[in-house]
Amino acid sequence: MLVSLYRYNPEADNAPYMQDVEVEIPEGKDLMVLDVLNLVKEKDPSMSYRRSCREGVCGSDGMNMNGKNGLACITPVSDVVKNNKLVLRPLPGLPVIRDLVVDMGLFYKQYEKVMPYLVNDKPAPAIERLQSPEEREKLDGLYECILCACCSTACPSFWWNPDKFIGPSGLLQAYRFLADSRDTAQAERLENLDDPFSVFRCRGIMNCVSVCPKGLNPTKAIGHIRNLLLQRAT
């Protein structure tokens, strides 16, 4: 199989380029894209990419495979390969550090802005802050995010304003805490989101939903945030 790889080493290369490598796929096996990358790296140890858990939990190997963002470790080659060719590029829209490794700084900065932690100024109870099963259920589909950045780097609004638009991943987390019955900072959280960029640059394109490897729906969470802002404003 032909694998076309985005290569860039800022210390040696003037500009990024695509490198074609022929990789032998063992007969009758459907490898994951990450396995293919590992085979490439056996031949060429200079090939750089991030990975850790190799089972879709850590979120470190988000990349662009034949045009679609996803986690290399849980994406079967057969799902993305076209005409026996696999094209691997870094996540779009973020600065490339080397090969498939991108600088996630802007992504994390947006995450930080939404205060991704529980705020509760009431004295802590002796054991724990209780939630009813219904209250807990509201967090389903929100807490599972692994911050892989596949969604935000597939979002055109994030490409244009990565410094001002929170992006689907950060907004999903914003709603995760807005929806938490134990959190007491809802007013402050909404206040921080009520400018023309943080939330409202979402144009409902839904690229985020189509790429999320965990099957989450940031667009829906963004809709909920907009409704909360609407309630607050009227």
């Binding site: 802005k113 609004s157 244009w160 304003n161 001002k164 921080n192 989101l193 009520d194 400018d195 023309p196 960029f197 943080s198 939330v199 409202f200 640059r201 907009r226 802002l229 609407l230 607050r232 404003a233």
Partner: protein, 115 residues
Amino acid sequence: MGMNSVTNIGRNGIQDWIIQRATAYILALYTLFLLGFFVTTDVDYQAWSALFGQGWFKIFSLLALLSIAGHAWVGLWTVSTDYIKPAMPRFLLQAACVLVMFVYVVWGIQILWGL
């Protein structure tokens, strides 16, 4: 947090959003009404000028004109902040858009009330 919106019509994101939706509904209503008028009436000069002779229709038309201006203002402000990063050209474009909208509204009032 975020960019100041002194050149925008709404004071914050939700105001922009509401203006954008509300004006869209008004424009849709106006369009539907005109379509209905064209379909049900044999439009000639008399019918057309009778329609514009009525006070309520002048007000409806002015409302539609203001809606176009508001809708375009929010929309163009958004597009300009998406694509034009240097502040000076962006401000000039925004100012030009606002000026054009202002002229259209005043001119529209003149036409509607035959001033």
